[in-house]
């Protein structure tokens, strides 16, 4: 409600604001309104009420647009930097991997492989590993298949430890043992009471177990969650994963201090005593057995580079760059497409805008200078394409410009081109420019016309009577006055052209497509949504810059539709 201090905006006559000033200037005591309150208060209240009423009328639509339009776009833009998938899917690995220095060792140490075994088990049970694989595949190709292959076999890792624990004491085979050690009493109660209706109670760890057996507790919690949510089973009846035994082995090996009052303390202490004699598994070798790419330093460096929850990677990709562990670098020559595509979009939009100016200016002049009856008739010829479905116009051009289409047939019939030598008018930049110029031309003519109509014809006559030639009179007197129309029309056409999708998709082939087509491709075909969002964000920034310019030059509420 800061508007009151700005003063009345462009209003003449008495407004509540000027009323306030009048009230203020009165020095003989407060002026009173009819009901006895001071005039100032009364006017203030009226002004507030007026503002509130206006806002209440606007509010439903504003909320609707904010919720169903602005918020979705914001959410989409957020995807262009969001990269939580790596950290969410491989939380343990990412934590351990942070200490790895790629310059010192070729491949990270056993701790990383142990973390990877647990993360991959969880991910493959939740079927997240393929998503992560596709995500990292955008950066280094081949990772997708690496993750798929690993996901299939990862549940065997650590089997060795399971067998040894069970051999030590058959109690380790009993799911109840793990529940006794790890589950909190409230969950055990709720789980026992669960009758198959509704959601299963959320698993909770027992107090203190996280300090004693940190790794095992963490993986067991994941195990319980997956069993409950993914498989809809009872963790108290399911044998834990091999990686739980692996974690238990590691915790015990690393010298967990088992308190005497711990559940199954005797069992655990016995196991801890036996652990140093366990046969160990080389986890790295196990992973390399599944896929030798796990010794590839590049893979590990990629995981390390993209482990942060937010990334500039998509934006760099949209500018044909990539985030390598050594910093920002160009993509390989054959993968650089986006700068070319952006430049092409800008060049073609400019070409379309220029073509629209060249074709629209004479029409605007003609309409503005004809008597209004004739002008209105001709205006219909401009408005008809404007009102005709975009797809109708696009299909018309597709039909006209085809190899066997009307224009080529006509040219062949006249003899300008030979039958075997038909012009390639479609599926290239020419097709896109012709069709889009036709589609956007009314958007140039309408603003030009409305500006030109306000230029008095007497100015031209005055210039001529003062001795100017026709050209001078036009160029020095008329043209400068029509520039606002050109500006308004150009920005409008340019903004519309730069984001076009349908027409280039249909008549553009491969050489005449715009950045929008690439965005659509990434959304619906390649499913690289982050990159699509980054490309969209860049496009949106360009459009917004022009929109802002348009608002400054023309004013957004001066847009006219259909004369």
């Amino acid at each position: 409600m800061s508007d009151a201090t700005h003063g009345p905006d462009n209003l003449t006559g008495i407004t509540p604001d000027t009323g306030l000033k009048i009230g203020k200037s009165d020095k003989d005591g407060p002026m009173l309104a009819a009901d006895g309150t001071p005039l100032k208060t009364s006017l203030n209240r009226a002004l507030r009420r007026q503002k509130r009423r206006a806002l209440m009328l606007i509010a439903p639509l504003l909320l609707f647009i904010l919720l169903t339009f602005i918020y979705p776009i914001g959410e989409m833009l957020f995807r262009s930097v969001e990269n939580q998938i790596v950290g969410d899917t491989l939380p343990r690995t990412v934590r351990v991997l942070a200490d790895w220095n790629p310059d010192e060792t070729e491949v990270p140490g056993p701790a990383v492989f142990s973390a990877l075994a647990k993360d991959m088990t969880v991910a493959s049970e939740e079927k997240n590993h393929t998503r992560l694989g596709s995500r990292l595949n955008y950066e280094v190709s081949g990772i997708s298949s690496l993750f798929r292959k690993t996901g299939r076999n990862v549940d065997d890792i650590g089997e060795n430890y399971t067998e040894q624990f069970v051999a030590l004491d058959p109690a380790w085979e009993d799911p109840q043992t793990f529940v006794d050690i790890f589950a909190g009493p409230r969950w055990v109660e709720a789980n026992a009471a669960y009758d198959g209706e509704g959601r299963r109670p959320t698993f909770r760890l027992a107090e203190g177990v996280g300090e004693v057996l940190p790794q095992t507790a963490s993986i067991y919690r994941d195990f319980a969650r997956v069993v409950q949510v993914e498989d809809d089973d009872n963790p108290a009846e399911e044998e834990p994963w091999n990686s739980v035994y692996l974690a238990l082995y590691e915790d015990l090996r690393d010298g967990a201090a088992i308190p005497a009052d711990f559940p199954h303390a005797a069992l655990l202490t016995a196991a801890q005593a036996a652990v140093p004699n366990f046969a160990t598994t080389n986890l790295q070798a196990a992973f390399v057995d599944m896929d030798k790419d796990w010794t590839d330093r590049e893979v590990w460096r990629t995981i390390q580079t993209y482990s942060a929850p937010y990334t500039t990677g998509y934006f760099l990709n949209a500018a044909d760059l990539q985030l390598t562990p050594d910093g920002i670098a160009w993509r390989p020559e054959n993968e650089r497409v986006y700068i070319t595509l952006f430049v092409r979009t800008l060049i073609m939009s400019t070409a379309i805008t220029v073509a629209c100016i060249l074709l629209g200016y004479p029409i605007g002049w003609l309409l503005a200078n004809l008597p209004s009856r004739q002008a209105n008739l001709l205006m219909i010829l401009v408005l008809l394409p404007f009102w005709t479905s975009l797809l109708v116009r696009t299909s018309a051009w597709k039909v006209l410009l085809q190899d066997q289409g009307v224009i080529n047939d006509l040219l062949v019939w006249i003899g300008f081109v030979s039958d075997g030598n038909r012009l390639a008018l479609i599926n290239n930049a020419t097709g896109t420019i012709i069709a889009m110029t036709h589609i956007l031309l009314p958007f140039m003519i309408l603003p030009l016309y409305s500006v030109m109509k306000t230029i008095p014809p007497s100015y031209l006559r005055a210039a001529k009577s003062l001795g100017a030639t026709n050209w001078t009179a036009f160029w020095r007197v008329y043209f400068p006055q029509s520039v606002p129309g050109i500006g308004a029309g150009s920005i409008l056409v340019f903004i519309l052209a730069i984001g076009y999708y349908i027409t280039p998709e249909i008549v553009g082939g491969t050489k005449g497509v715009f950045i929008s087509n690439r965005i659509a491709y990434h959304i619906s075909t390649s499913l690289n949504w982050g990159l699509a969002a980054a490309l969209g964000a860049i496009l949106l920034v360009i459009v917004m810059a022009f929109y802002w310019a348009y608002d400054r030059i023309v004013g957004i509420d001066n847009v006219k539709l259909g004369g």
């Binding site: 609707f64 979705p72 479905s389 006249i414 984001g499 619906s524 847009v559």
Partner: protein, 409 residues
């Protein structure tokens, strides 16, 4: 220079004809002959010379001996006959065009019609420029309209071709048929999309018009805090490239669809329609805002005060006083919103499921994958609908200008 009456030397009445009309018509004829000659199989040079000779002879005969109407029909008849001789039916059609052009050009030059619209003192250069300008404008109008008009006859093609067959050019009834229209009205692949479009567009229009009109009335009050920012937000669906809107809505509405199905228990098909309708309503809003605020600029606010003064409550005032006066703006805004939704592809492509396939969507897939001539029949129907809508909007605009006391224009 064209009229005999201006010539002081009565003894040489041929003078302006020989120096002006004859050479120009001959050049024009040479040009047409150059084009027509190619088609008829003559070389370009022979065609040009032939055309120039025929044009010169025609010019002489027509201007000397025949009145305008007879002369023009005569020229057409001669050219059609020659064309038919040279190239059968197609040649006759070409001859018809050439004859009409030649006959018109001869009289246009000879009677001085070409100077109409320029002041009598204009120099030759100015007259030339004036006529070239008119010609250029005509060509641009042709460019605007021709593509739309061309598809109308093509949609009656009896073949599955996208060009004029020789039978069509010969106006042979066998070359025309209504089979593409029949396909449209009997094929479920087209009828279901048509039905969907007719469901989605009116609902979307209703939402954008009702919310948009209220907001426009609010925006037109004299004191609206942050009007500029609000306006920018409300107009943004028109400015943001559709592909970006569609992408954003794709993510948003897929979550919303799940919410509606899982928590509100709405069926998948109904939630699909709701999603598309809401998305289209957002796209239609800017058009309603723009047209209604433009109408409200000229609305006299003292009328509402007068109504209030006489004891009408705000709701009565709105429906009895304000609404009738801004109705033309509301209706044309609604038509814009309707056509936006009816014509929209990108958003529905991303937000909708196959069950919500709309007419433009079906056309789009048709154009991209297997282009079938039924599209032309659909396009023709849509052109006719848009002509109807355009007429309604034009009439409304004139009515509102008359109401406001402006000149009917």
């Amino acid at each position: 220079m064209s009229s005999v009456a201006f010539n002081p030397e009565q003894g040489k009445p041929l003078h302006p004809f020989v120096t002006f009309t004859l050479p120009l018509v001959a050049v024009f004829g040479a040009l047409l002959g150059f084009i027509g000659g190619q088609a008829a199989g003559l070389g370009p040079l022979e065609g040009a010379i032939f055309g120039a000779v025929i044009a010169a002879v025609l010019a002489f005969v027509l201007t000397r001996f025949l009145p305008r109407k007879t002369g023009r029909w005569g020229a057409i008849a001669v050219c059609v006959a020659m064309g038919f001789f040279a190239g059968g039916f197609a040649g006759a059609v070409g001859g018809l065009i050439l004859g009409a052009l030649l006959g018109w050009a001869v009289y246009w030059l000879d009677t001085g019609d070409y100077r109409r619209g320029v002041p009598p003192y204009a120099t030759t250069g100015q007259v030339l420029w004036h006529n070239s300008f008119k010609f250029i404008c005509g060509a641009i109008f042709f460019f605007l309209i021709a593509p739309i008009i061309t598809i109308i006859p093509l949609s009656f093609n009896a073949q599955n071709f996208f060009t004029f067959t020789p039978e069509m050019l010969a106006l042979d009834p066998a070359g025309f048929s209504l089979k593409h229209y029949q396909d449209f009205f009997t094929n479920d692949a087209w009828l279901q999309p048509l039905k969907n479009s007719l469901i989605i567009a009116p609902f979307a229009t209703f939402i954008s018009v009702s919310l948009g009109t209220l907001a426009a009335i609010g925006l037109s009050q004299s004191h609206v805090p942050g009007r500029r920012a609000i306006m920018a937000v409300l107009i943004s669906p028109m400015i943001v490239p559709l592909i970006i809107s569609a992408t954003g809505m794709f993510f948003f509405y897929s979550q919303m669809g799940l919410f509606m199905e899982n928590y509100l228990g709405i069926s998948k098909s109904l939630s699909g329609y709701i999603k598309v309708i809401l998305a289209h309503a957002a796209l239609g809003v800017p058009f309603v805002i723009i047209t209604v605020t433009a109408t409200l600029v000229s609305f006299d606010q003292s009328l509402t005060r007068a109504a209030a003064n006489m004891g009408a409550n705000p709701v009565t005032t709105f429906f009895k006083v304000q609404m009738p006066l801004i109705l033309p703006g509301v209706i044309s805004g609604g038509l814009f919103a309707f056509i936006t939704s009816f014509d929209e592809v990108v958003v529905v492509l991303f937000v909708g499921a196959a069950a919500q396939k709309t007419l433009p969507w079906q056309m789009f897939t048709g154009l991209r994958e297997q282009i079938s001539p039924t599209i032309l029949a659909v396009a023709t129907i849509l052109v006719i609908i848009s002509i109807a809508l355009l007429t309604v909007v034009e009439l409304l605009r004139r009515r509102s200008e008359r109401l406001r006391g402006m000149s009917p224009g």
